[in-house]
């Protein structure tokens, strides 16, 4: 008979198990509570085993017994630990002294799994069976596995009815003496050679079974006899593509598409099948598949070549979901891959790609602009123009740069307007873009800008950039302007004026204009430090040809 103390200890273990079952679901493995809960449960087992060799629990639907003493009771269906075990056929669990912390941890992990999820194919008993714990034994009632309780009785009755009667038996006995002498099959005894061959065979067996299945599915397609057969085979091929992507096997997914491409060009294939096959071709581009692809890209490093090969089989429907995941991916490499994919696919449908410019995430918009620039299709312009007023400066800068590289004169006015943007970075980009597209017009506009009153107040960096842009035109009017600026003296706002002069010196230096040297020499003694320094650098540039 167990003592009250034993029962108390057993009850405590049940409580600890219940608590762990909950905590393991709530906290991730690296959370201290996770480890602490397991440790606590283990301690309770250990202290129980100080005086006992085993803990045997009997399971009923609504209660758990320890030595016929009820130590757990729950009449409800929710969070009922007894029923949780009972429903899979468990009727007894025995923990033995010797139970290790790893064993108890594994056991508790099984308990905390979410068995309601559809894809869990194992019940508790299967999981316990697979772990094959040394110190956790259990008894199950398998009766519920039979579809029909009387099956065994019926089958046995049926067989017994057919049992030979005495006459038949004796006939057999008589015949036995007339039968031929036994020949017997000779048995080749197993040798080390057999075992070595077997080991090799087992090694060979570790191949990717998906490829074999795909081979079979194509065979089913070839040998299909009805519309239904074709449909099934195609559906399964879709399944195989999905399975491959889910398991990081992009090569197999690509090879399915490649073979399907070959097949669709086969003249012997009926037209209606070809129509059905188009569904297979659009499958990898579906939102769900792209989402799956994104998960894959984020979890493992995918070889760029392998990825690009797969992307070749996608169509423009993949563009919107790709844009969606572009903003969600965590790894740089994953984003790089998606950008490559969109560059390839976007070329087929600029409009679909450009719709990404409406995305609420500025970094996505900037990526789309970058991709449009890489594609270099002038059609992109009409969409890009709308992004010029984007609220994020990083986007505006990118869009202006892109417009500049696309080189269409139609955007000149817009770019000119951008020279008034509140952000200096944007203004600089606009000036560069202008000079890219239409140098003659740009020269005029920029000269106008730098001689304007407002320009004086811009900060030095921006001024420098503008003057640098000017340096590409070595024409008389530009040089005149620069010389004028260089020599200009002003008593009002002298320091700001000197900044302008320093920039003019910088620009003349970049041009390598020898005519400016006399003035520059003088400026080496200027009182303004900036001017002195810039003049000095410009002289060096001009004298030494850079």
């Amino acid at each position: 008979m167990e003592t009250a103390e034993d029962i108390k200890a057993a009850k405590e273990i049940i409580h600890a198990i219940l608590r762990t079952k909950k905590n393991l679901r709530m906290y991730p493995e690296n959370n201290p509570i996770y480890a602490r809960t397991i440790g606590d449960t283990y301690t309770r087992f250990r202290s129980f085993f100080n005086y006992r060799d085993e803990l045997n629990l009997k399971i009923n639907q609504n209660d758990i017994l320890y030595d016929s003493e009820q130590i757990y009771y729950n009449p409800g269906k929710d969070d009922n630990l007894a029923f949780f075990f009972f429903k899979d056929g468990l009727r007894e669990i025995t923990f033995k002294n010797g139970l290790s912390e790893t064993e108890i941890e594994e056991f508790l992990k099984i308990l905390s799994l979410d068995f309601d999820r559809e894809f869990v194919d194992d019940d508790i008993v299967t999981l316990l069976w697979e772990r094959d714990f040394q110190n956790i034994r259990y008894v199950v009632d398998e009766a519920f596995l039979a579809e029909d309780e009387d099956y065994e009785t019926e089958a046995v009755r049926e067989i017994k009815e057919k049992a030979p009667d005495a006459d038949e038996l004796l006939k057999a006995y008589d015949d036995a003496f007339k039968a031929d002498e036994v020949k017997g099959v000779s048995i080749v005894p197993l040798t080390d050679d057999h075992l070595h061959s077997l080991a090799r065979e087992l090694e060979r067996d570790v191949y990717d079974k998906t490829d074999k299945l795909v081979e079979i599915l194509f065979e089913m397609l070839y040998q299909a006899e009805s519309a239904g057969d074709y449909e099934d085979a195609l559906n399964f091929l879709e399944g195989a593509i999905e399975f491959s992507i889910r398991h990081g096997n992009m090569e197999t997914a690509s090879s399915i598409m490649k073979r399907a491409t070959g097949l669709i060009n086969d003249p012997s294939l009926p037209d209606n099948v070809k129509r059905q096959m188009r569904l297979l071709f659009s499958f990898p581009s579906s939102g769900e598949m792209i989402k799956l692809l994104g998960e894959l890209l984020d979890s493992v490093e995918i070889d760029e070549k392998v990825f690009d090969e797969y992307v070749r089989f996608l169509d423009k429907n993949a563009i919107p979901p790709f844009i969606t995941i572009l903003g969600e991916l965590k790894s740089i490499n994953a984003r790089k891959n998606v950008i490559n994919a969109l560059t390839f696919l976007g070329g087929k449908d600029i409009r679909a790609l450009a719709s990404g410019l409406q995305d609420s995430r500025w970094y996505v918009v900037r990526n789309i602009i970058y991709i449009l620039r890489k594609i270099g299709d002038k059609k992109a312009e009409e969409y890009l123009l709308k992004a010029v007023r984007h609220s994020d400066v990083r986007v505006r800068k990118e869009v202006i740069k892109t417009l500049g590289e696309l080189g269409n004169r139609g955007v000149l006015q817009t770019l000119k307007d951008c020279l008034e943007d509140p952000e200096s970075q944007v203004r600089i980009s606009a000036a560069r873009a202008l000079s890219n597209i239409a140098p003659e017009v740009a020269k005029r506009i920029i000269l106008e800008k730098v001689s304007g009153k407002n320009f004086m107040d811009r900060d030095l960096d921006e001024k420098k950039e503008f003057y640098e842009i000017l340096s590409q035109w070595k024409d008389g009017d530009v040089v005149d302007f620069l010389m004028r600026t260089l020599k200009k003296k002003s008593f009002f706002r002298g320091a700001v004026n000197d900044e302008n002069r320093a920039c003019a010196a910088y620009c003349l230096g970049l041009m390598g204009n020898k005519d400016a040297l006399p003035v520059l020499y003088e400026l080496r003694d200027s009182k303004n430090e900036l001017l002195r320094e810039y003049a000095y650098t410009a002289i060096k540039r001009i004298e030494y040809g850079r």
Binding site: E147, V185, L190, G239
Partner: protein, 467 residues
């Protein structure tokens, strides 16, 4: 911390068994003083002594097909397969079941043990010889094999029966539900197969005996279960892990799933198939793939099941069906299931052979098919498993007793255990089991198989004893 130690103990237990095989092997080829033998012995002594130091004793037992060290079963691993198999045979040859090392051992003890062990191989009564020769070595004692469970134990038989019929009933249920388009979970299928795997590991003969009872009305379901049992039993001989055995068992259970598309009237037809009917039968591998893939989404087990459902009639040399454009080597499981499938089909009175064959006849036909229809390597393992006279074979002994083979003997394939149903006087008896390896005082075998007969012809089977 404790776990790490525990794992190391398990690992060293494995190494000890392996090292014992190594020293026996080495001692077969070299003199006891040879450096290879000495080094191997030193390693064994070191391993064994460290376990003895921590656990007090070292008990090494062979129970059934498994080694146990201090009561813990040594789990399978491929790297040790060859040595474990070798050691198991050496033990069985000598009727040796256990070696108990009681306290720290010295290399000299093991030298003495090896000498005695090797000498005993040529003895008429090896175990006795071994015991005598070991009289002076006092650090160890040896014992005969323990019986797994008392034979004929009622509970065990009841459990075997229950497992077998549960499996058939489950198979019927799942096939019918798939037929009617219902979604089914394979959770239960796993449970069914797991309990079969457990029994094969512990009560193989009884479960194999169940497969030898033929003539059920619902052939397809029993056939599926039989193929599953035979495949798992073979897989066990091939050293597959428990988890792989479950997968193999599941795959085998579903191998004929495609037959749900074939009308029962055709399947159960008493006469030969017409050409049209054959066309339907030849489609069942395709339908099998379809049924399995529809059952649940793709996962490793579904893929493997579909492959085997497709390939199980293709044959090793691709001479079977379906014919494919690009044949590639059959899957390992397909080869196993093909063997089990042919054997069960041939020994049953349905479908492929209208006339059932006696098990030994079926085996001799299968033997002719090795290298063409069947994989020769796996067949060698298969026949070593079922023996010359498979369970269920009807035999007449030189004592004029008539009986059914009840349990095979892997060491003496032509000397199984036999359930006698008619005694030497020609009278029907209640059924007693005799072991054909039994010898009289003069060392002569008491009984030998004279002839085999077709049990189906007389509707004789193990039913009476097993059910």
């Amino acid at each position: 911390m404790a776990d790490k130690e525990e794992k190391e103990v398990i690992k060293s237990a494995k190494d000890i068994v392996n090292q014992l095989a190594v020293i026996i092997k080495t001692a077969h080829f070299h003199d006891p003083g040879n450096v290879a033998v000495v080094t191997a012995i030193d390693r064994f002594v070191a391993l064994a002594n460290s376990l003895i130091a921590s656990e007090g004793t070292l008990v090494l037992e062979l129970i059934g097909e498994f080694f146990y060290v201090n009561g813990t079963r040594i789990k399978y691993s491929l790297e040790y397969l060859l040595n474990f198999d070798f050691l198991g045979r050496e033990f069985k040859k000598r009727e040796l079941g256990s070696i108990i090392f009681r306290n720290a051992i010295k290399p000299a003890d093991i030298q003495a043990f090896l000498k005695a062990f090797i000498a005993s191989a040529f003895s008429q009564n090896p175990f006795e010889t071994l015991t005598e020769n070991l009289a002076d070595v006092d650090c160890l004692i040896i014992g005969k094999p323990k019986k797994l469970k008392e034979e004929g134990e009622f509970d065990v038989r009841r459990m075997v029966k229950k497992t077998y019929f549960n499996a058939a009933s489950y198979t019927k249920g799942i096939m019918n539900r798939i037929k009617s388009g219902e979604k089914v979970s394979i959770k239960k299928a796993k449970r069914v197969v797991e309990s079969m795997v457990d029994l094969i590991l512990e009560e193989e003969e009884l479960l194999l005996g169940m497969t030898a009872i033929k003539g059920h009305d619902e052939y397809t379901y029993y056939h599926s279960v039989n193929v599953s049992i035979l495949s798992v039993a073979l897989g066990q001989r091939l050293g597959l892990s428990r988890k792989s055995l479950t997968e193999l068992g599941l795959v085998a259970l579903f191998h004929d799933m495609g037959k749900i598309e074939i009308p029962d009237e055709i399947l159960n037809k008493p006469t030969n198939f017409t050409e049209d009917e054959w066309r339907l039968i030849r489609r069942h591998p395709f339908w099998g793939v379809r049924a399995i893939l529809r059952l649940k989404g793709l996962d490793a087990t579904a893929i493997r099941s579909a492959i085997v459902a497709f390939e199980h009639h293709m044959h090793y040399d691709f001479s079977g069906y379906p014919k494919v454009r690009r044949p590639s080597e059959l899957d390992f499981y397909s080869k196993i299931v093909s063997l089990a499938d042919q054997y069960d089909a041939m020994t049953s009175s349905r479908v492929y052979s209208r006339i059932p064959m006696s098990p030994d006849k079926a085996l001799s036909i299968m033997m002719e098919r090795t290298g063409t229809q069947l994989d020769p390597l796996l067949f060698t393992f298969f026949i070593n498993m079922v023996g010359v006279f498979p369970i269920g074979t009807l035999v007449i002994l030189d004592t004029k007793e008539l009986g059914l083979v009840y349990k095979s003997n892997s060491l003496f394939p032509d000397r199984p255990r036999v359930l006698v149903i008619i005694d030497s006087k020609g009278s029907r008896v209640e059924g007693y089991v005799v072991d054909l390896t039994e010898k009289d005082a003069g060392g002569k075998y008491l009984r030998t198989i004279l002839k085999t007969m077709d049990p189906n012809k007389y509707k004789i089977n193990l039913a009476e004893y097993l059910l």
